[in-house]
């Protein structure tokens, strides 16, 4: 604590030297401590830690905002970063996309701390390793399981932001990303099953996440289903009804709602890399994005979801906002800068991956509201269809229209009942027809919350943490196919 106070005093005293040297100046200091451990077949695979500390300096010159970033947190290092950033920003301001003013940097004061029962600094590396070793051994339930992996990223992130127009806020995040997976092999057949696909099992939480009994129960299911897939039938190739479980919906929401609604994509900032968007400015308030069952919110206020915060990284107060209401597109995912450039409403979502990247429009938590069915009622409505669980493959075009996604595990539905397990379930469709084929959602008490630590975007590129919650969702007449 004493060290942190000393660092904050240094940070504030350095800021005072520079706050009057441009039209606007802000300092954002980040320290992120990550422990990244994995155990494979009961033995250590990787035991790593990362301490990422640095400063992002924001400078506004003649309405243009430029950035200087340094990990040299010394008087000399900060001076060098500021001087260089000022020089480049002054030159760039003659060719800037847009002339902003201080309205895009509202004064913000306050604090955010992730909800937690026990801080992540209270669990030792040895305790985490034991958890991973025990669960990976449990996953290796048979010789057919050739790879049983349990891994965890434990992230403690501290942000402080101060600006020349009065911002002074602090945010502290505790995050756990915990994966369990089993790869089964028999002759030419190899199948993998995991806990909600890749690293979908992630949230803001403290050390209480590491509940061994719960995890061991999950391990049993995962390894049993991996072995079951070895002898399962391939997913049929046909057009039929489709139910997506929440751990696939997370990807569906992310790729076909989150990204196309980002205002910086609509404005063309991402055209050369991540891509543009099929959504046009005139579509807001008018486009029938999906069926009337579809209600989607931007919500960074959910206490345990992956991308919750009080302020975005330029000081904009984070609030819940409806993006799609009864199927009609309402609002986009644009920060204050994108809102002013586009004349559209947006949200508080200027975020960066760390101290070394400029904030851009990111999606944070995007959540699909529940409906009125139980899962059994939903299945009973289908004469022939497939239910798919846990993402394993994803691809979508640069306008976010044509997608193809694959899942780990499927079940065939015939005459309103689940009849058999399917391997290699995939589906493909086009965003707007797909969401307009939404024909049912399970009740709010079935909503599950997942996320991803790896949403990629931006030039230079950035990964960001996102959260998505969803019920089970039923879609009519979708192309499905197998391996």
């Amino acid at each position: 604590m004493q060290t942190q106070n000393k660092e904050n005093l240094f940070f504030e005293s350095e800021f005072k030297k520079y706050r009057g040297l441009a039209d606007f100046v802000a300092f954002k200091k980040i320290h992120e401590h990550t422990r990244d451990l994995s155990a494979r077949n009961g033995k250590p695979d990787n035991i790593r830690s990362f301490d990422d500390s640095g400063l992002l300096i924001e400078i506004m010159c003649d309405g243009h905002i430029g950035y200087g970033a340094t990990c040299q947190l010394t008087t000399e290092g900060i001076k060098s970063a500021f001087d260089q950033a000022l020089k480049i920003t002054e030159a760039a301001s003659k060719h800037s996309v847009y002339k902003f003013n201080e309205r895009v940097r509202p004064p913000a004061n306050g604090e955010y701390i992730s909800a937690r029962q026990k801080s992540l600094d209270q669990i030792s590396t040895a305790e985490i390793y034991d958890f991973l070793k025990t669960t990976s051994l449990k996953l290796k339930s048979s010789d057919q399981i050739i790879t049983a992996t349990s891994d965890a990223m434990i992230i403690e992130c501290d942000q402080k932001y101060i600006s020349s127009n009065g911002s002074d806020f602090h945010q502290n995040f505790n995050i756990v990303i915990n994966s369990l997976s089993a790869t089964a092999q028999s002759g030419p057949e190899t199948q993998r099953r995991s806990l909600h696909g890749g690293r979908g099992n992630c949230r803001q939480i403290g050390a209480e996440h590491f509940n061994l009994q719960n995890a061991l129960s999950e391990c049993e299911n995962i390894s049993r289903e991996a072995i079951e897939l070895l002898t399962a039938e391939n997913c049929p190739t046909e057009t039929c009804d489709l139910i997506l479980a929440p751990d696939q919906m997370l990807l569906q929401i992310h790729e076909s709602i989150g990204h196309p609604l980002e205002l910086d994509r609509i404005l063309g900032d991402e055209r050369n890399f991540a891509g543009w968007s099929f959504v046009q400015p005139k579509d807001f308030g008018q486009l029938q994005y999906g069926s009337p069952l579809m209600n989607v919110d931007f919500d960074p206020t959910v206490s345990d979801e992956m991308a919750s915060y009080k302020f975005d990284e330029i000081g904009h107060l984070a609030e819940k906002k409806s993006l799609i209401k009864n199927g009609i597109l309402q609002a986009g995912l644009g920060s204050l800068e994108s809102q002013i450039r586009s004349g559209l409403s947006g949200v508080a979502n200027a975020r960066s991956s760390s101290w070394n990247r400029a904030p851009i429009d990111r999606m944070a938590n995007i959540n699909l509201q529940g409906g009125d069915l139980t899962l059994n009622e939903m299945i009973s409505k289908i004469s022939r269809g497939v239910i798919m669980f846990a993402n394993r493959s994803w691809s979508i075009d640069d306008y976010r229209r044509k997608f193809q996604f694959g899942c780990e595990y499927g079940k065939l539905i015939e005459n309103g009942q689940i009849t058999k397990t399917l391997k290699n379930p995939n589906y493909r469709s086009v965003t707007i027809p797909f969401w307009n084929s939404l024909a049912g959602l399970t009740k709010p008490d079935t909503v599950e919350t997942y996320g991803s630590p790896y949403c990629g975007k931006g030039e230079p590129s950035q990964i960001i943490r996102v959260g998505h919650s969803s019920p089970y969702a039923m879609f009519k007449n979708i192309e499905v196919f197998g391996g």
Binding site: F50, A358, K402
Partner: protein, 442 residues
Amino acid sequence: MDNMKTYLKKFSESIFSSLASSEDLGLFLHSEDSLFLRFNGSKIRQNTTVSQHEITLTYQADQKKISMTFNLTLNIETDLNTALKKISQARIDLPQTDISPKYVPLVNNGVSDVYKKIDRPSDEKISEIISELFQDSDLAGLWCSGPLRKASVNSKGQFHYFETDYFFFDYSLYNGPKAAKGFYASENFNVNEFKLKAIETKNKLNQLQKPTVQVPRGQYRVYLEPMAVAEILGTMAWQGLSQSSYKQGRAPLKKLKEHELYLSEKFTLLENFNLGLSPLFNSIGEISEPEVMLIENGKLHNFLTSTATANEYNLISNHANGGEMPRSPEIRAGTLNQANILKKLGTGLYLSNLHYINWSDLQTARLTGMTRFACFWVENGEIIGPISDLRFDETVYNIFGSGLVEFTNHQEIFVDTATYMKRSLGVLKVPGALIENFNFTL
């Protein structure tokens, strides 16, 4: 930071002197001083300068290891203090773990230093050069430049240091929704060469003025420009060439390894460090052979095998990095002359770029992805018009196997443009490819 090597030497000597005889320590440095200029509408959206110096300590004892990465402040007292605290914590944590199957004892892999310098415009001039050259265009893209340093040092006396300075300009030009891709990187910035490249891209955009052709899904003969081939190779590199992926059941080329299927005899893939843009040493300081053959005339020669994987499975290492991704891959050229590409394509699709490729089925080595930027429908060797984007879903065994008609006799070199978390350092060299029966699904 011109004297990073000196700083690293001082830092490492102090740290190594604190070790007990039973302990070993490896250091891996990534250091960059970068300029990023982000463009939209041929104007600057964001400029960011980054000074990022990251050191990874790998502490080893009793056949166990822990790695710890932190940022250097370049204040020696502060950085040594941080490193010593990390090592103290490792001394507590390590005994509570088990012996690592991937344990690699540290050895002295020698001493080397490589410095590469280039000529390029000053950082303040770049925004003006690009904005003025493209003021008649709608451009989006990224300029990236500046020094980048890598080093691998250990307590056995090893000290490999590599410092380069390079730039690239990765961009695209637009006419409404129609777009053409441009790219410029060179050992030295030549303004005339830069302008010629810009004109080429502008001309390509003009070719897109013809009416768009709606091509239905189906199988087509295609020509992939080198950049499109590079996109496929980039995805293949992800798990596809890794020994540990194969051993752990994640290998898309399992059937190639087990002689069930082969690629075309015209397909040869190797690691070629003679391309010269990557350091010869890997993260633990091992020096690769100048050429490492991976797939030769359609048959698997070697997966990329790190010493960690080799130790675990009792194999021979070819000194791949820990991730077993290629660092300097080359697909050998073929015989197709550039002037004959459209004629040899006949009727089909001319694809300049692909996008968002991912494995759709690892077991059958199937890839899915999209066409992007300037892609055309061609009939009888004549460009008819640009196409609406198509999704493909096709196996590597067809793309570089039964469907491969020929590679071009010219290759292009692409520097790694990845900038996630930090700048990547690498290069690949590939030809264009004429392929038949390429499967488009949406």
